[in-house]
Structures are given as C-alpha cells and as structure tokens.
Symmetry: C2
C-alpha cells in the first residue's frame, strides 16, 4: 500500500520515525508532516497565512515534506499538491502522549485522521500513553499488525467518513493484554491555570489539565488504557448529537419572540 | 442570566459587539475573547505557551478581557480564573461567515460552545452566513429571542454535554423563513492549494475551500441555510462513530499478527 504518514509532534519526532521505519518494511511511505511541533492544535487549518513546504533529508536520502502548518494542512496539501498518487491510507503519529477522552478534540494527531475521513481516505491515528522515556518500537509493531489485519477492509469495505483512533499502553509487547473497541470518553478534565509573575512584574498563566482518574466509564478509551488494553475508537468528523429531548417547541417560541 | 461571551474574530470584532449590546439589554454580560483574530483554529488550546490577559475598555468603560489564546482558552480561563461567578450560559460569536458542514470542526467559534459543554455549561455558537457587508443586528435580535426561549431549559433541563450551533441567513428579519433543527453535514469541501511565487523567488501556497453547492443533504445545516432558515444543530464534544460493521475480528487478527 501507499501510506501518507504525518503527526503533530513535527517531522523530526522519534515517534514518526519509528512508525515510518516499521511501515517501510512492507509499504511505500510518503511523509508529509508539520515543520514544527503542533501541540493541542485541534482541527486547525491554515487559511490566514501562506503555507511553505520544505524537502527534508535524513541519513542522506529524501525523508519527506515539512509543512509550515497543522496536521490537517499536511493531509490536505499532501493529497492535493505533493504526492504523485493518492495514498491508500493516512497514518498519524505515533504521538508522544495519549489522545483519549476530550483530548481527542484538542489533538492534532487525531485531526489528521479525521481530515483523511473528510477527504474520503481511510485514516488511523496512533498515540502512546506516556510522556516520558517512550519506547516507540512496541507500538510501531502493533500499528503494523493492525494495518495488515485491516488490509482487506481497506481494499473496499472501509466505512465512509470513518477513521480510527488508536492508543497504546506504554508496555512491552508481552504485557499488552489485548485490543478493545472503545468510544471516546467525554468526562471533563481536571484543569487549572497556574498564575505566575514574569521577571518584568507582569502576570501570565500556564494552562494545566489531566484526565480525571476517578470517573472512568467502562467501554471508553480512557477505561481501556487504564486496563493495559490497546484502545481502538471509531471516529467520524461529525459532532452532531443524537436528537434527545424535543427542541422544536423552544425553537418555534424563539421565532415568535422576535416577530 | 450571567452570560460569558466570546468569539474567534477577536475582542474588537463588530459581530461580538452586536451580540454584547443586544444581550446587555436583559442580562449580565462578561466578555472574554481572543486578543487577535483566530481563524480556523478548530478546538485548539494553548499549552506550550504562556497566556496573557489584558483588560479592554470601550466607550470609557470596562468591556472585557482580551486573552492571547484561542476561543476554547477563553472559556476555560474565563470560568476558572477571571469571572467572579460561573456563567449560566456561554455564547460565542456572532461569527463573520457560516460555520456549517465540516467547517464545524475547523471553527473556533463553535469550539467555544463545545468547550462549554465539556466544562458542564450550556453553550451556543452564533454565525452569520456572509463574509461581506454584514448586518449583525438581525442575527443579534434572533439570538436574544433564542436565549429567552431557551431560558426554562437553561434553568434545569439542559441535556448534559450538549451545545447548540446556530447559523443565521444574511437576510432582514422579515425574510427569515423559520428555524430548522439540523445535523452537521459531513460532505467534503471543494478545495485546492493555490501555488504562488514570492518576490524572492520562493514558492508558497494559499489554502482555498468552499462548501460544495451541488451535494446538499436534506436535514443538514448546509441545507437549512440554503433555504433561508436559521440552522440550529445540537452538538456533543464526542467524535465517536456509531458501531457499524463488526471490527472485533479484525482487531483480534491484528493481535495475532504481532504475537
């Protein structure tokens, strides 16, 4: 297969390199990744500024295109401008740190996979559940196994406008307990702003947040990781809520209020 | 009610001013908005950089807090640091330009409302379907009517983790044909990258995209606007796809491939 690989940690990130190295063993790989780290950019795209593209060499050969934009920009410009043929699959990652719960909305890594879904391509986002001392080889091997196992589905049965969000526990392969098909947890983060004073006497804030540990709903991505399972969520680029209570009378009332 | 009002066009935007002016007639308003325009920032949050907050005056009195961050940052820091009491409702807009279809994911305006939903607050995003010569008074009046009509629901029946995405046709009040409860269209944009050469001989790209006009699904936000209806979508901060085809065998196969 022809794989477009991107990430949000930037084109020089070790997690990207591990994924590329593993996938190159059996696939053709095109790397289109942000020139700089894009932390928590969500599904941002670059409209107000021009986008630059630079060719990056590694180990004496062409490695990929570095884009002065977001992961979603990379998928778009890769497909529409840079690649000589459309990819069969878009991969994003391997991200340093998990992308579960409401983080899914903040995540540039995931946005590359949802962007693929919007563009009509299969996409998979990969993230590793650690911020320190990562070993990207086990998740890279699992990612390759997952792609191989999904190959028949990729050949025709991939559901429209759907992508996968995969999170790996930070454990050796032998300690991975299985895979679990999950849904995104929507539990609120525990967060705060830490106020500090700069050397010039002016205030600034650092935003800090963490996944709450005490309210984990079974069947969610957060729940799977906590149990040492690989979490696989199906995502769609669609925030529509299920119908729920009937809003029509309120909306009719709103029209009456103003006419 | 106490309203937190934000936007993604920046604290000096006329669409924000129109919404604030209208809502101040009957509510207490706290403005917490980005210091600079945040176009297509999606659900970005600011983690890698410190955040600054400046007090902004207009017409000789305190107007609101300008935040060097995204709309989602504004909602978070407003609730957690700046406001003396939690708001009853978060409003975002009125945005210059529609936020329908896959734009919902790219939109900073909408992300403020989904952030409110994450934080356990009711939120409504307002956008006007024009980029040129906007008249924000009709949508501001409609917005006020909608908020008044929803007041009983806000007092206790607001569904958990749900927000509203409201898009107004750019028409005089008398030509608004009604309100329609819609879902987000997920049709792919018509898009391209326009390659140019700068005065120094180096290439750059402008990203261009527009809502496709010829594939409009009934019941969607795009469909409602095209008919002169106010589009009201219920959104949740949840990208989980419905279960669909059974993925479990593929996932089991993936585990076998690597063990």
């Amino acid at each position: 297969m022809h794989l477009l690989i991107t990430n949000d940690d930037g084109i020089l990130a070790p997690g990207l390199a591990a994924l590329v190295r593993q996938m190159e063993e059996t696939h053709r790989v095109s790397v289109v990744a942000p020139e700089y780290e894009q932390t928590a950019v969500g599904h941002a795209i670059t409209l107000a500024d021009p986008i630059r593209v630079h060719r990056v060499q590694r180990n004496g050969r062409f490695y990929g295109w570095a884009v002065t934009g977001t992961p979603a920009d990379c998928v778009k410009i890769g497909l529409l401008e840079l690649l000589d043929s459309p990819p069969d699959l878009v991969l994003s990652g391997i991200n340093l740190g998990p992308n579960v719960g409401v983080n899914v909305l903040y995540s540039g890594t995931v946005s590359a996979a949802t962007e693929a879904a919007i563009l009509g391509l299969p996409g998979i986002a990969f993230s590793l559940d650690t911020y320190t001392d990562p070993d990207f080889d086990p998740p890279a091997r699992l990612a390759a196994g997952l792609v191989d196992a999904l190959a028949p589905r990729l050949a025709g049965e991939w559901p429209a406008a759907t992508c996968l969000n995969v999170n790996f526990p930070a454990r050796p392969l032998a300690e991975i307990k299985g895979l679990s098909l999950t849904r995104q947890a929507v539990t609120r983060f525990e967060e705060r702003f830490e106020k500090r004073i700069d050397p010039h006497g002016r205030a600034y804030y650092w935003q800090c947040g963490q996944e709450p540990k005490n309210r984990v709903e079974p069947g969610t991505d957060v729940w799977a990781l906590a149990r040492g399972l690989v979490s696989v969520s199906l995502l769609r680029p669609d925030l529509s809520a299920p119908p729920g209570p009937d809003w029509a009378p309120d909306l009719e009332a709103a029209l009456k209020v103003i006419t």
